[in-house]
Symmetry: C2
Subunit: 406 residues, 2 copies
Amino acid sequence: MKITKEGITAPKGYKAAGEHIGIKRIKKDLGIIYSEKPAICSAVFTKNIVKAAPLVLAQKVLKENRYISAIAVNSGNANACTGEQGYRDAVETSKILAESLNLKENEVLVSSTGVIGKLLDTKILTEGIKLVSKKLSSSQDSARDCAEAIMTTDTFVKQITVEIEISGTPVKISGIAKGSGMIHPNMATMLGFLTTDVLITQEMLDKAFKSRIDESFNMITVDGETSTNDTCLILANGMAGNKLIEKEDENYEEFERAVDYIVKFLAKQIVKDGEGATKFLEVKVKGAITREKAKILCKAVLNSQLVKTAFFGKDANWGRILSAMGASGVEFNPEKVKISFRNKIGEIDLFEEGKPNNFDEEFALKILEEREIQISIELQEGEEEIIGWGCDLSYEYVKINAEYRT
Amino acid sequence: MKITKEGITAPKGYKAAGEHIGIKRIKKDLGIIYSEKPAICSAVFTKNIVKAAPLVLAQKVLKENRYISAIAVNSGNANACTGEQGYRDAVETSKILAESLNLKENEVLVSSTGVIGKLLDTKILTEGIKLVSKKLSSSQDSARDCAEAIMTTDTFVKQITVEIEISGTPVKISGIAKGSGMIHPNMATMLGFLTTDVLITQEMLDKAFKSRIDESFNMITVDGETSTNDTCLILANGMAGNKLIEKEDENYEEFERAVDYIVKFLAKQIVKDGEGATKFLEVKVKGAITREKAKILCKAVLNSQLVKTAFFGKDANWGRILSAMGASGVEFNPEKVKISFRNKIGEIDLFEEGKPNNFDEEFALKILEEREIQISIELQEGEEEIIGWGCDLSYEYVKINAEYRT
């Protein structure tokens, strides 16, 4: 498995583009991803029952046809809570995208992120789609432009490529994503687009993709908020010409590992770029009776405002961690819980056997001064474990969200 | 129903005191409430499965005996997550309290709030209890001292008295409370102590008290956090000599209304004094099919970080409200939802029929510049409704909780 910083045009047959078309004031706001051959698409969408128009449309399209050739993504306007007009706008945009690229309407998807509740300026968007369609290229610059165009309050581009071999044939999988507020582990929780040239059946693609989403994008949180527009999808156009992956053999496993690497990388990048984040927290819950229990506890800790502010304040506050666990609704024995922090500075055990260890506060502070901190929570009740990622809650988060209208 | 600002010594037969004994640096940190006659005690405790030692002890005591004569409450140390030693300390403190006031051990309760995970300094506390026991008085100054002594990051004293007549006999009910972080509507969520001289059966007291808690303390939130020490209780010593309340007649209803007024007043005071709060938000969810659904939606809105930061930023962001509702897990039809804001400045309808109204942003800003804002959410699906209270999320909340070790 070879990892590079290439973008989504690295796999064979993909083109991309990203431009500023005028939805946002200055920054790039429209990206298009294109596959020369129709690609099998596997997708997950927000579980928020308030779904943005493009998601409603995408779900309808994918029910009819799972082979997709192009996706247009705009930032700056989410086209969410925009009623029937919003849906008509999504349909119209799709039509223009299909026309511009000589495709059928059910071969294209549109996706949006940004302000909720404002109608799209369809004139700007349709003109933009026509323009950007002409700029599609397989260059790495174009891939990066596209990754930039989907960003909102993100501060850096998130893209990665993994190269593997399937029965001796090289295969590439790439991904881009955007965060960075409204991030909650209840679903795909952001925008993420993966491209690959692997040759795989629809069933196996669904399996690899959806199982890996559960362990990555569904295990991160920035603020416990679930957006109306969360979308994560993968396109597989088969152009690598590898031996078809059609069952759960070693080739499947190799592909799944690559997808796993990409989605975890992107998920962690999203958290690292969480709005106002100064800390990157990795919470590992071990020794749970069920995986589900471990998940609930992990998310309860990562979503606790008091835990998050404690990390912002560099406070070794295991008490807030235990309290957040206790309020999660999951039964566990606090007397058996063991809590420790660790990173490159060292490791410190804070709590065990129902009471705090008499730990060295100065050493704890040294650990907490680092940007990355691993929190280990042992329940000593079973064998299941889970890892989740989150960040602290800073002044900057409040500032960004008091001033930015999502 | 007459409302006064008197404290918990207003009803007949109650004394109180509050002093600085040295748990905290400067502020008062030990309060005692005393009833001349053993009073029936009705109590609710945190649903957090990590329960502080004094709560575990109080639950044990109240199982044996529901007639209580004294309660000692310390702030500055929660005696939570302190293992077996913490429980022994709670028992020892109880003993000293009982001895100091010539009571049996099962007639007294202890309660704690403050830092988690530190052993109590039992020498300071037991000396303190002996000292403060001697200062008990029925004066209003003593009542206020006691209300002050239970505060942590609260910025003002929360106390109130309601006077009613039961079959022509005057009866008083008083209450004090402390907030102001770790407030979440999943239970009693804070410390609240009510005293009354009403003559009532245990069954009727339980009924009136617990039903009113559900509509007040369980409907407020500051930060979605549920403490290990939440306790709310009422003492009824019968010294008003009114006709015994023993069934749900008009006298019961009058008493329940008075309790309702007190707990809602205290609950709202807690929110108004929420850590760093600059806005007081009242969310009314109307037209729900079930009360339970209305509650979940109400709390989802009040707990949303993005909704809270929007109010801090004076942003009429109905989109975040709708998104928080959509992520709550409750099914509803977004097309039927109507969202409006209102306060003394006026009223503004923001969203209906699946899309935003073209509302006057300047007028919305005027409404949002006020400290108190009512948010009305109509589902148009049924007849049930609920009201909940919360606050915004400010820089100050982050500051307080990054610096203060709970």
